[in-house]
Amino acid sequence: MTDAAPLYALVLAGGASKRMQRDKAALDYGGESQLDRTVALARRHAAATFVSVRPDQAADPVRARHTLIVDAFGDGGPIAGIRSALRHSPRNPWLVLACDLPFLSDEAIAHLIRSRDPSRFATAYRSAYDGLSEPLCAIWEPKSAEALAQWQAQGRTCPRKFLGAHAVTLLDPIDEHALDNVNTPEEYALARAALDTTGAPGRMQIKIQYYALLREQAGKSTEAIDTLSATPAELYRELGARHPFTLPHEQLKVAVNGEFSDWSHGLRSGDVVVFIPPVAGG
């Protein structure tokens, strides 16, 4: 049997990003969104690349610049996205990638493609943490469509459990961090810092306004810095090395772009940050 249909890629960008509290697809890495990075990676390996979205996301500018496949199977999470791709092109195998895997490399994708077994439902990596499959960095075969439909008809949404219950090929990871995903602002900060040391331009321009005691200790009212600090907490620590600040950050509040914010808030280039010393109005 010849397997002539080329490999297509599906980048999943339909998640709710609950723990991140921001759209994971839009997270910035060196001036590029996580979604754009993942699509560019997929394009280097697949004959055609599509982005999976829910119907209400189709007009979102972060997503709309790509070729979309809109979920056609209801609120079924990744399973609905994969089924929609298999309906779009039923003869092609699909390289399915989550868009929250910033460390995913060309080597990891190439190894997956080389190791692909078209006689199985899917070829996937085994997690470096729990040994279970990683369904969202995997090649899904056309023959899985029927079983996926049955799975979803049973009200089941977990693609990991699906792979666990069906004939699949599992590969050992070539790099234990390649599939680390980013779900929280803290993980995002760490990922961005780590990627920067490997050459990605992760520096941001942040403006700081100082008031009261901090203004006097900084010797200025405003300051613009080029920084790798991903959160206000890291930024205050970095600035504390430049200026003789005496207030610990536990005694301060922080505002970003004119509104109270959080010490673990993910900063973006161009943000204006104000550290608020203990107040004394009245």
């Binding site: 306004q209 505002a255 004119g258 509104e259 104000v274 608020i276 010393p277 004394a280 109005g281 009245g282």
Partner: protein, 161 residues
Amino acid sequence: MTRFRFTATPIDVIAGRCELLDVAAGGYVSFEGWVRDHNEGLAVRRLEYEAFVDLAVKEGDRIVGEALRRFSVRHALCVHRVGELAVGDIAVWVGVSAVHRGEAFDACRFIIDEVKHRVPIWKKEHYVNGDSGWVNCERCAAAPRDVHAEYDERAARHAHD
């Protein structure tokens, strides 16, 4: 107009009061915070107020809005000075008009207490001995009080009177 404002010139309390006039109100309560000549054992010569105006106006307006809802008063307004102040100057003014006096007193107290704890305004005291310092910043800041709990306790006490 926001219900919380800053001014760099003396606060016009008569103009503020006029903004609260209402034929449905049965009373008006105001509070004036004055620059005292001493603080924590030191003789004070003058004061300096500084504010992060953008956020302070937003937060101050939110506080007044909370007071209007919480106490069902008719109108409320708070004006705060910035810049250099002398002993005896009015640093802050709060005015509230309400159908009955009880809510007006309660709302006025609530607004000044919240403003002191939440609005990004800083006070630098210049002492007669030549020293100066940012209040709450130079020494170990005291643990913040839970003003809501304190307020509810007081309200509950009145309810039993």
